[in-house]
C-alpha cells in the first residue's frame, strides 16, 4: 500500500483513472464500506432512539464520515497503531475493528456491551484492536494519547498514535498541555482537528481567534496539515503523510479537516441557531455522495459493486440488531465490581441487606 506500488492488475478496470494515494481498488471499496456502515448504523440508532431503546443521548456524524474513516484508514493496523476517537468518530472505531453490535449494545446499555452497561455510546476501548475510548471531559485524551505514544518510543516500537479533537475541545487546557508535551517530546502522535463549524451552538469564531485551526500548529512547533474533510481520499492522503512522518521520527502533526456538523449537537438539539442554507450547502458536499460519484465516474467501482456493499452493510446491521435488541440489561449487583483490583468488589450498602 505504499505510493508508487502498481494497482492490482486483477481488479483494475481497463479504462479506469489512476488510483491516487497508493491505494488499491479493494481499499477504495473498503473506504466506501466504512463510511456507509457508519451512516447506516447511526440511522439505525436513530430508529432505536425514537423507540426509546437508546437509553441516553444520540450523537450523529452525518456529513463527517469521511474525516473519521479516511483518517483512521491511514493507520497501520498490522503495526498496532492506536487511536482515540471523539463522539463523532464512530467511523474511525469501526475501521479499527469495533463492531456494530458492540456499538448497539453500548447505546442500549446491554449487559453484554463492552462496558457492561457502565458507559455510554462509543465510550469503550480495546487496545488490542487499537482504540482507546474517550471520556466526556473534552481534551483529556490528548495527554493520554501522548502517554500511549511515549510507551511506543520507550519500547522502541514503530507504532503511531492518533487523537481526535473538535474545534471546541481545542480550547481546553488539557488539549494545550497534551499537545505541548507531545511536541516537546517529539512523540509519534497525529492530532486530527475536526473543524465542523460548531461546538454545540457556539460557532468557531467565538471559540478561537484564528481563522483556521491548523494555524495553531506553528505555536506548538509541530507540523500542520489541512484537508477537505469531506473528501475521503484527501483526508486519507493528508493523514497518511502525518502518520508516515510520525513513524519516521518526525514528531507531532496537527491535521485540520474542514467539515461540517449537519445535525444538532445531539438528537435533542433542533439546530435553531444554524441558517438552513448553510446546512443545505453542505448537504451538496455530502462525503458519501461525492465519493460514490467519484468511484463510478473514475471506473473504480461499478454500480453493482456499490449495491453489493450497501447490501452487505444493511445485512450486517440488521443481523446485529436482531441479535442484541432484546438482550437483557446488566444485573444490578454487577455495578459493584471492578472499582479497584483489590478489593475487587465495592461494599454493598447496609440498607440493601434490610428486610
Amino acid at each position: 500500500m505504499r505510493s508508487g506500488e502498481p494497482t492490482d492488475p486483477v481488479t483494475a478496470t481497463p479504462n479506469a483513472a489512476a488510483i491516487p494515494a497508493g491505494l488499491r481498488r479493494e481499499q477504495l471499496h473498503e473506504l466506501y464500506y466504512w463510511m456507509r456502515l457508519t451512516r447506516s448504523l447511526e440511522e439505525k440508532l436513530v430508529n432505536l432512539y425514537r423507540q426509546t431503546k437508546v437509553i441516553g443521548g444520540l450523537f450523529r456524524s452525518l456529513g463527517q464520515e469521511a474525516d473519521a474513516v479516511g483518517s483512521a484508514f491511514a493507520l497501520d493496523r498490522s503495526k498496532g497503531d492506536i487511536l482515540s476517537p471523539l463522539i463523532r468518530n464512530l467511523g474511525s472505531m469501526l475501521v479499527q475493528g469495533a463492531t456494530p453490535i458492540e456499538v448497539l449494545r453500548q447505546y442500549m446499555a446491554k449487559a453484554q456491551s463492552p462496558t457492561r452497561g457502565r458507559e455510554l455510546n462509543i465510550h469503550f476501548n480495546d487496545l488490542e484492536r487499537g482504540f482507546l475510548g474517550q471520556i466526556s471531559h473534552l481534551g483529556d485524551m490528548v495527554p493520554v494519547m501522548a502517554g500511549v505514544c511515549l510507551s511506543f518510543r520507550m519500547r522502541k516500537q514503530d507504532r503511531v498514535g492518533m487523537v481526535y479533537i473538535g474545534d471546541g475541545a481545542m480550547s481546553t487546557g488539557a488539549f494545550h498541555e497534551g499537545i505541548n508535551f507531545a511536541a516537546v517530546q517529539k512523540l509519534p502522535l497525529v492530532i486530527i482537528c475536526e473543524n465542523n463549524g460548531y461546538a454545540y451552538s457556539t460557532p468557531m469564531s467565538r471559540q478561537t481567534a484564528v481563522q483556521f485551526l491548523v494555524e495553531k500548529a506553528a505555536g506548538y512547533g509541530v507540523a500542520g496539515e489541512q484537508a477537505d474533510g469531506n473528501d475521503v481520499l484527501a483526508v486519507y492522503e493528508t493523514t497518511k503523510r502525518a502518520v508516515d512522518r510520525a513513524r519516521a521520527g518526525g514528531g507531532v502533526t496537527l491535521v485540520e479537516l474542514i467539515t461540517y456538523r449537519r445535525k444538532g449537537h445531539a438528537e435533542h438539539d433542533n439546530q435553531s441557531y444554524v441558517p438552513k442554507e448553510e446546512i443545505e450547502a453542505w448537504e451538496a458536499r455530502d462525503p458519501i455522495d461525492r465519493y460514490t460519484r467519484r468511484l463510478l465516474e473514475s471506473g473504480w467501482a461499478t454500480a453493482a459493486d456499490v449495491d453489493a456493499l450497501d447490501a452487505r452493510v444493511t445485512d450486517e446491521i440488521d443481523r446485529a440488531v436482531a441479535i442484541c435488541e432484546h438482550e437483557p440489561l446488566p444485573e444490578p449487583l454487577t455495578a459493584l465490581d471492578g472499582v479497584l483490583a483489590d478489593p475487587p468488589t465495592a461494599e454493598l450498602e447496609w440498607y440493601r441487606r434490610l428486610p
Binding site: G173, T202, A346, E347, E349, Y351
Partner: protein, 325 residues
C-alpha cells in the same frame, strides 16, 4: 395563579438580579443565543446583550478565573458549568485561587458558579456527578443545593448578593419535574446557611438535601401510615452547615438518618454524623445511620444506576430499622 418549575425559578432569580444590579453578568458555554444546554438562560442575551451574557470557549479554568478577576474589580459574575461534572476542570483555580483569596490576600471574590448536577437521569459517569464533598472540604467557599423551586430562586438571588464565592448545585432531575406557585412581585431571598424543615415529625429526623429531599418526603408519607412520624430537614446550604437546625431536630426526635445521593465514603453524611455525635450523643436512642450511594462511579444502564443510587424504598427500610432500634 402561575406555577413555576424549579428551572424557571432559577431563570427568574437570575433575571431579577441581572435587572437589579448592573454589576451582575454571566459567563458560560452556549449560554447566549442558545440559552444554555438546559435553556436556563433562554432569552437572556437578547434582553441583556452579549456584553453581559458572555458565551465562552470550552475552558472552565478561564471561566472561573476570569470571573474571579472581574469580581476583584467590583463585578458580580455568575458562571454556568454546562454540567457540574466539568467543574472539576476548573478545580485548581477554584480551590487554590478563588477559595483562598479573601484569607490570604483580603481580596473580594463574589462569584457564583452554578450548573446541573445529579443522577437518576441515565446520564452515565460524566453527566450525573454530585461533587459537593470536594468543595465542602474547601475552606473559603460556600455551597448551596436547593430542593424546591422557591429555594432555587431564593438561593440564586442570595448567592449573587453574597460577598463570597458560592457554588450553586442545581439538580437536573428536578428541573422540570417539580413546580410551585411563586407570587410575582414577591422578593424571594433564601438565607445562605439556614436549613428548612420540609416536614415536621416526632420519631426520627432525616437530614438531606437536593433531590433526595423528595425521596425522603415520599418515604415519610409511607412511614406515617405505619405510625412512624418523620421529620425531614432540607439543608439547602451545605457549607456552612446549619448545625443548630440539625442539632435541634435530632434532640427532639432522638434518631437521625442522613441521606444523600453522593457516594458514602468521604461524603457529607459522615461530617453530619460526626456533628450529631458531638452535640447530641446523650439524646440519641439509636446510632446515626447513612443512606448514600454505593462507592462506585455512577454507571449508565438503568438497572445499574437504580441499584447504585439510594431510592425511596431504601430510606423507608432504613428508617424502619432505626425506629425499631
Amino acid at each position: 395563579m402561575s406555577e413555576v418549575t424549579y428551572l424557571e425559578a432559577i431563570r427568574d432569580g437570575l433575571r431579577e438580579e441581572l435587572e437589579r444590579d448592573e454589576r451582575v453578568f454571566m459567563l458560560g458555554e452556549d449560554i447566549g443565543g442558545y440559552g444554555g444546554a438546559f435553556k436556563v438562560t433562554d432569552g437572556f442575551q437578547a434582553r441583556f446583550g452579549a456584553e453581559r451574557i458572555i458565551e465562552t470557549p470550552i475552558a472552565e479554568t478561564a471561566i472561573i478565573g476570569a470571573a474571579a478577576g472581574a469580581a476583584h474589580m467590583g463585578f458580580r459574575p455568575v458562571c454556568e458549568m454546562q454540567f457540574i461534572d466539568f467543574l472539576s476542570c476548573g478545580y485548581s483555580i477554584l480551590t487554590n485561587y478563588v477559595a483562598t483569596a479573601r484569607y490570604r490576600a483580603d481580596l473580594k471574590t463574589p462569584i457564583v458558579i452554578r450548573g446541573p448536577s445529579g443522577g437518576y437521569v441515565r446520564g452515565g459517569p460524566f453527566h450525573s456527578q454530585n461533587p459537593e464533598a470536594s468543595y465542602v472540604h474547601t475552606p473559603g467557599l460556600k455551597v448551596v443545593a436547593p430542593a424546591t423551586a422557591r429555594d432555587a430562586k431564593g438561593l440564586i438571588k442570595a448567592a449573587i448578593r453574597d460577598d463570597d464565592p458560592v457554588l450553586y448545585f442545581e439538580h437536573k432531575y428536578l428541573y422540570r419535574r417539580i413546580k410551585e406557585h411563586l407570587p410575582a412581585g414577591e422578593e424571594i431571598l433564601t438565607p445562605i446557611g439556614k436549613a428548612r424543615t420540609a416536614r415536621e415529625g416526632k420519631h426520627l429526623t432525616i437530614i438531606t438535601y437536593s433531590a433526595t429531599v423528595w425521596k425522603s418526603l415520599e418515604a415519610a408519607d409511607i412511614l406515617d401510615r405505619e405510625g412512624v412520624s418523620v421529620e425531614v430537614i432540607d439543608l439547602r446550604t451545605l457549607l456552612p452547615l446549619d448545625a443548630d437546625a440539625i442539632v435541634a431536630s435530632v434532640r427532639k426526635t432522638s434518631r437521625a438518618l442522613v441521606v444523600h445521593e453522593d457516594t458514602r465514603t468521604g461524603g457529607l453524611a459522615g461530617e453530619i454524623a460526626a456533628l450529631i455525635n458531638e452535640r447530641c450523643f446523650e439524646w440519641l436512642d439509636a446510632p446515626v445511620r447513612r443512606v448514600c450511594a454505593h462507592d462506585v462511579p455512577l454507571p449508565y444502564a438503568p438497572t445499574l444506576e437504580d441499584f447504585v443510587l439510594p431510592q425511596t424504598d431504601d430510606i423507608v427500610k432504613a428508617a424502619r430499622w432505626m425506629a425499631a432500634y
